[in-house]
């Protein structure tokens, strides 16, 4: 496994080095990462990158099957328009995580920022999943059109809210699973709470187990059947808003 020292390396050079490195060894480690953008952009299946430090914005943009593990926090727009692959972040993550992602999985150990999962969507068997261990900022799952977001809300302080406001506003597809029961006030008008099916519980079990494995946590105490599930009221939420002219 090759290690690339990213300290003080401009992002274009770093991404070039990654491209050349994976020609010989698809498993690489980046050390000393500070804010370099687009790490892992468009990379395909088989590539595995471990990152030490704080990768910059648009990490894993358009990623197409590669796997990235971050030992640290990540910034904004991680997994932007990602197609496939897996991201594991041992830390927290900024805003617009998984913007428009249409496939693959993202696991974040801690909290996630604003507009997480915004406009994530599914197509045929491509179903993106975001799992976050902490809480989320406002506009979680905004415009969501498919896939799933699982929010575990682990280790929240007393009175700390698991989601912000406007959760699922504009949602017209996909599911949001929340380990908690946030006030209706925090949700967009396009969302409704629906009951969990056995299939949901199996789905949750699978992803929670993976989360536990990645972050080496014992989550057997979680009562998956007590999770709240939210989905779109309607696939065409704005049908009645218009009149032709």
């Amino acid at each position: 496994m090759e290690t690339i020292d990213a300290l003080d390396v401009y992002y274009r050079k770093l991404n070039d080095s990654i491209d050349s490195a994976i020609k010989t060894d698809k498993n690489i480690t980046l050390s000393g990462v500070f804010g370099q953008r687009y790490i892992g952009r468009g990379l395909s299946k088989g590539v595995k990158i471990k990152i030490q430090g704080t990768p910059g914005n648009d990490m894993a943009a358009y990623m197409d099957g590669a796997e990235i593990e971050v030992f640290g926090n990540a910034q904004d727009a991680v997994g932007n328009t990602m197609n496939a692959g897996r991201i594991v972040i041992h830390g927290r993550c900024g805003d617009t995580l998984g913007y428009s992602m249409r496939g693959g999985e993202i696991y974040v150990e801690g909290n996630v920022g604003y507009r997480v999962g915004i406009h994530m969507k599914e197509y045929k068997d491509m179903k993106p999943v975001i799992v976050a261990g902490g809480k989320a900022g406002d506009f979680l799952g905004e415009y969501m059109a498919g896939g799933a977001i699982i929010l575990l809300g682990l280790d929240l302080a007393e009175g700390e809210e698991i989601i912000g406001r406007f959760c699922g506003t504009g949602i017209h597809g996909g599911k949001i699973y929340i380990n908690g029961n946030p006030d209706k006030y925090n949700f967009g008008k396009e969302v409704e709470k629906v009951s969990l099916t056995d299939e949901d519980i199996a789905f949750l079990r699978n992803h929670v187990d993976l989360y536990a494995k990645f972050f080496k946590k014992d989550l057997s105490y979680l009562k998956l059947e007590a999770f709240a599930k939210y989905a779109a009221v309607n696939k065409n939420p704005y049908f009645n808003m218009y009149c032709s002219n």
Binding site: F34, G35, N73, N111, G137, F139
Partner: protein
Amino acid sequence: MLKEGEFRIPSGCAISGIIDKKGKRFSGEEIIKSIALMHERSNGLGGGFAAYGIYPQYKELYAFHIFYDNLSVKSQVEDFLTKHFEIESAGNIPTKSVPNIKDQPLIWRYFVSPKIYMSKEEVMDEDEFTSRRVIRINTEYKGAYVLSSGKNMGAFKGVGYPEDIGEFFMLDRYEAYMWTAHGRFPTNTPGWWGGAHPFTMLNWSVVHNGEISSYDANRRFVEMFGYKCTLQTDTEVITYLFDLLVRKHKMPLEKALKAVAAPFWDDIERESKEVQNELKSIRTVYASALINGPFSIVLGCAKGMIALNDRIKLRSLVAAEKGDRTYIASEESAIKIICDNPDKIWSPKGGEAVIALLEGGNNEPKF
């Protein structure tokens, strides 16, 4: 080409700030490193810093940093200064030659105090007297621009990447208890040094990221209270808003923040009657002070640093704490590069200010 103030130039940006809440001073090296990391967010057309606590030997005096285009306007402005102020000390601000920094103006510094009889005659306090003189120099003397006018603080800015500007002004040789920095990404610029950020007024300094959509509503509001937005920049109007609310209207800082990043009416409805009444009153009276559109700002003043995001958080902002220090930056990596293991690191919520003020001290410093 028209310069700032003659038309409006939208720009994006990077911001960074560090404060030691115990007032311990440190060199400009770290803030340069932090803002330099976000190089990608600037485009070399503007960079700058505000530093607080740098002139302890003159802390009772207003420190004017002035750009001059030529010697003739310099002598005119100096005549004006001599007439209105006692000048304790004057000299050029030392700089060093840096390859990417060109076309610098004459850069001078004066430590002054208002002529007491004049401010008494005009029945205004020294701050108001000084701020009006600064506005006069900036509007009436073509080719002169006061870039800072506070006490024990100063702004350093120019056309270039912020790290180059920092080197140009040799900020590693200054010691401040608080630094803020700005890297600018203007859509176009005439290359005027005065147009770089931070913008300052008395002790206020503002660095800001994002372009606000409420600009003209805010501008026309503050201009009712005697301000003149000569630069037509967001930073200028934001500075005046805070100066108006906090200095002139004497609003407590946290209430002023509720005006510029007002909570939603729906959220206000859910508060207790008393809080509701207060928030409603603020929104009603200061509706035009609401800053709308995406922004993250770091506001500096003698008391400390306040960072704020717009209420739906359209700009990124990360805060961290370690020991006595509070850090703020547009990107987390810009903090991590100078503070590898913070005690706490978080993304402030939209509209929720991070307030990091100097601790202790018997005499409350003014904003």
